[in-house]
Point group: D2
Chain length 150, copies 4
């Protein structure tokens, strides 16, 4: 990942996903950043901020699930047909451990790509003093929808 | 709801939940507001802002699920034993329709209260030009945990 | 429900769903029976048998979810377009209380009917000495698929 | 797995889980068989039978989820404290592909072991003419409960 330059296609894929994130008001507002992107896979990072917490000062489950939903949607988007965008149909998330640390990382990965629906799995980790702990696990169903013309 | 003043208990319950929301950085950051609260039930409102959108300009599923998670947790909290707080174990949300309008309203309701776990259902509505449309449905599992002493 | 004869349409609907159940080897093998059927709604009954239990002698979660899945699919099928059948995309079930009694009753109800996907909610009750207790709650996503020609 | 005899502990674990399956009426009735068992992991096999089908002749989602629920519960049981048994709190299953073949295999694996709750992931495969295809993916929440004395 670090040693060779990304292929043209990977760069194009990344631009496509970065554009999605840039157009998402919520991702900007939360401070989410795009990480690695490849076909069927996308990483989203979320640095800690007091603006992301629940009542005990940990990352709020709403923040965790927002970036998990985004990472899953981006993973699906890397394989969506031309002229299509993606929408979340549903997701289920288990919160495995206290979400505490300098940042969260959500890794979305396509499990099954159908014509209409894509099934994605998302792992979320907390990064804390050099340790990476799994803090959430999501299963998500995504639908391809034709992009409306402007 | 509107005609008679809330009982002392309802007022105390509301204060307890309002304090939870006030201490949640994410709820403040998103602009969420507490609505009606009663035993086993809590409403959370989220006025529209460009800071809450996905790439098509609708409310982001992450915003929808954040207030749904909060409304469900608040509903469970109204029935949590003294000296306990609540944490989300997991939830599953179906996004039923485009989340579009002046605001969202999430209504959490306790379905089953056990000693350790509480099962909650949350309906989310979009309010648009006087119409109220269901846009999401959540099932959530909540755990009671002892509050740590300061 | 009991006082007036079902309309022609309701009878046709019921026949359509009964045919589905009759062609399901699993429903026969478990002893499931069709209850009331109307547009967007279907009931499935499951009389107790030692062949349906888990290790403590209660109804197995697998039996509960099998009839919940069936009731939800049947509810969706009542509104499927002509020439289409339905398949479960995914479901999530909370087991609310010990599933104990003379029979279970699963009640599937369409929450949102889209062109491709239907979202269904299913309540499951245990009937025990005249009492009806909620024992499970399901959210389910169903897809309409064209029926293959014979 | 094949080359060395199982350790005493693995054999004891397997006996404990086999006893659970033997006491489950539903698992017997469906024809489910225990496969490999190790700490945090359990396999359940389900040979095809017309008694396990839905209306199109494929394995019914109810059969798939019954063995997935069992494999997940067994995986959790391998790590349950002494004197405790396990119950499913909830699960969510995505049906990835038509469940077609000579048998199904469900592989449950503990993702997170807490004091009270265990989170499990279950993969289900169809075995068809020597090919193994993923057909379902489950996330499951399990609770440890004290075994009642006889």
């Amino acid at each position: 990942m670090a040693s060779s330059p990304p292929s043209r296609d990977t760069a194009a894929l990344r631009d496509r996903i970065q554009a999605l994130l840039d157009r998402s008001g919520l991702m900007q507002h939360l401070g989410a950043k795009l990480g690695d992107v490849s076909s069927g896979r996308a990483h989203v990072h979320l640095p800690f901020s007091p603006a992301l917490t629940q009542h005990l000062g940990l990352f709020h489950a709403g923040a965790t699930s927002a970036i998990a939903d985004a990472a899953g949607s981006f993973a699906a988007m890397t394989q969506a047909p031309d002229g299509h965008t993606v929408l979340s149909v549903e997701f289920k998330i288990n919160l495995l451990a206290p979400a505490q640390g300098e940042s969260l990382e959500a890794v979305g990965q396509v499990i099954r790509k159908g014509r209409t629906l894509t099934i994605v799995q998302v792992d979320v980790f907390a990064l804390n003093a050099g340790r990476k702990t799994p803090i959430a696990l999501m299963q998500q169903t995504i639908i391809n929808v034709p992009e409306r013309q402007p």
